[in-house]
């Protein structure tokens, strides 16, 4: 589904990520974990085409998209749910969902909104509420539902559990599991290493802009080095 080769992104003269190689197979959930400032968000933004790539290539379903503009990547099925959610605060829940389907045929929108309200029942109760007055957890669910409205082939989730109460974090990971069981391909970025490995097939550990470790998720969670460095820290 996704193939990344030698990806390097620089902010001015500072390289935020350097020579990353990773891939996401169709129907799998892959995690990108690592500490704050490691370059995870930068990587997702390069995949979405909202930060320029200094070197390397990105291929989606075998086609190179390194130079494709950000809105065309969404049309091709590469959809990001950003860190900090970025819901459109002044617009209603329904309008946010409609905008999620911006690149989709309009006759499918109503049906897809109904599907989202099934998956996230809280959104059905707040259809006309401005997104800005939702709680953090509700905003995260709205952001995920909005991303799904685009019918992504590959869904990029950037720290969906960040800043949420433990109960809500649990719900978010339940939804990721549910999406996985429906066959959704996901690239998940998390600092919540333990829970994110639990829902993933494969994982990459990023530190200081480079991949330092990779492997099947169950192997990594059993790895004593990973346990020492990450699993003790969170949850």
């Amino acid at each position: 589904m996704l193939e990344v080769k030698g990806l390097t992104v620089a902010y001015g003269l500072v390289e935020a990520v350097r020579d990353l190689n990773f891939s996401v197979a169709r129907g799998t959930v892959v995690s990108l974990v690592g500490p704050n400032g490691a370059g995870k968000t930068t990587t997702l933004n390069a995949l979405s085409g909202v930060v320029p790539v200094a070197a390397g290539g990105i291929a989606l379903e075998g086609r190179d998209i390194t130079r494709v503009s950000s809105h065309r990547r969404v049309a091709k099925g590469l959809v990001q749910v950003p860190e900090g959610r970025l819901v459109l605060a002044g617009m209603s829940v329904r309008e946010n969902l409609e905008l999620g389907a911006y690149r989709r045929p309009s006759q499918e929108v109503a049906g897809d909104i109904a599907r989202m309200e099934e998956l996230f029942p809280i959104l059905a109760d707040k259809r006309e509420t401005p997104a800005g007055s939702l709680s953090g957890g509700e905003q995260q669910m709205l952001a995920m539902a909005r991303g799904l409205m685009a019918r992504p082939k590959l869904l990029l989730l950037d720290e969906p559990s960040l800043g949420l109460a433990p109960l809500v974090v649990k719900m978010i990971f339940e939804i990721v599991k549910e999406l996985k069981s429906q066959g959704q391909t996901i690239l998940l970025v998390e600092q919540n290493v333990y829970q994110s490995l639990a829902v993933s097939d494969y994982a990459y550990v990023v530190e200081n802009g480079s991949i330092v470790l990779e492997g099947a998720a169950d192997k990594l969670s059993a790895d004593p080095a990973v346990a020492r460095a990450y699993l003790g820290q969170t949850v």
């Binding site: 979405s48 950000s70 809105h71 990547r73 969404v74 459109l88 905008l99 911006y102």
Partner: protein
């Protein structure tokens, strides 16, 4: 009493045109947080283009109005492309864009001067048939009714477009958060260009109506309305479309009422701008402040 009634009616028409003009400023400001100071020059070009279409191309005003409005919209695309796009990545884009849009205004004005001369020109007699009604001592002309109908039609269309249409929602999304809009698959640069088109088309339409109403056009006719338009959007709340509509009406009414009450036009602008300061004191964010294009 009838003098007052008459002035109220006149204020409504003038205010409506101010609203139309100011909505163009506020649309671009709401989306980009920048002022397009070429807006008044596009207003002028719209009026003069309609005049040319009627006078030299022999079109009726009904054909000339939409054509000149479209042309003004295209000028807006040009302003965006030449004065704003190249500066977008600069850290001083707000200030440098202000300056480069003034430069565009000067170029437009010079071109208009070259084509139409520096003197005042007017639509040929009979462009709009002269029909006058008297209702209880208040005079209303067909032209006034047509102007008001046009303003209302354009405002309702714009409001509905922003509220319901796909492109309208995209404009509001870009106004609220460009990065979020990009991640939703919105072509942000395209939406910005369309916003300039829309804003300038409305400004051009205002120029045509102004030229018809005051029966006079000139290459510098945009000057006096430029500052009034800015005052109107400050009054209404920067970036708010309904605010610009209300602000325009308030401004137009205050002007004519000052003339009616003081009996001279000397104080007209002074009172209108004093009202601006008074409202700023009471509501620093404007009548409908805080609201942006996104809340249209």
């Amino acid at each position: 009493m009838n003098v007052l009634g008459q002035q109220l009616v006149n204020g409504l028409f003038i205010g409506g045109m101010y609203s139309l003009f100011a909505v163009g400023y506020t649309l671009v400001f709401g989306v980009l947080d920048i002022l397009n100071l070429a807006h008044a020059a596009v207003f002028t070009m719209g009026g003069l283009a309609a005049l040319w279409l009627v006078q030299s191309a022999g079109l009726s005003i009904w054909a000339a109005f939409p054509l000149a409005t479209l042309l003004a919209g295209v000028l807006g695309l040009l302003v965006n492309q030449v004065a704003f796009v190249p500066l977008r990545r600069r850290p001083d884009t707000y200030f440098s864009g202000l300056i480069s849009s003034i430069a565009m205004a000067i170029i437009f004005e010079a071109l208009a001067m070259q084509i139409f001369g520096a003197h005042n020109v007017r639509f040929p007699a009979g462009t709009v048939p002269v029909v006058i009604w008297r209702l209880g001592g208040i005079t209303i002309t067909l032209l006034q009714v047509e102007i008001l109908a046009t303003v209302v039609l354009l405002m309702v269309t714009l409001t509905q477009l922003l509220k319901r249409a796909r492109i309208g929602k995209a404009i509001r999304a870009v106004a609220e958060n460009q990065r979020a809009a990009r991640l939703l698959g919105i072509n942000v640069d395209g939406v910005i260009a369309f916003t300039f088109f829309l804003s300038s088309a409305l400004g051009g339409a205002a120029g045509i109506l102004f030229g018809l109403y005051f029966d006079s056009l000139s290459p510098d006719m945009g000057r006096p309305i430029e500052l009034k338009g800015l005052a109107v959007i400050v009054l209404g709340g920067m970036g708010s479309v309904p605010g610009a509509i209300l602000g325009g009406l308030a401004f137009g009414l205050s002007e004519v009422l000052t003339v009616a009450i003081s009996g001279t036009s000397n104080l007209r602008d002074a009172v209108a701008f004093t009202m601006l300061f008074a409202i700023m004191l009471l509501r620093p964010s404007g009548i409908l402040g805080k609201g942006r294009t996104r809340e249209a």
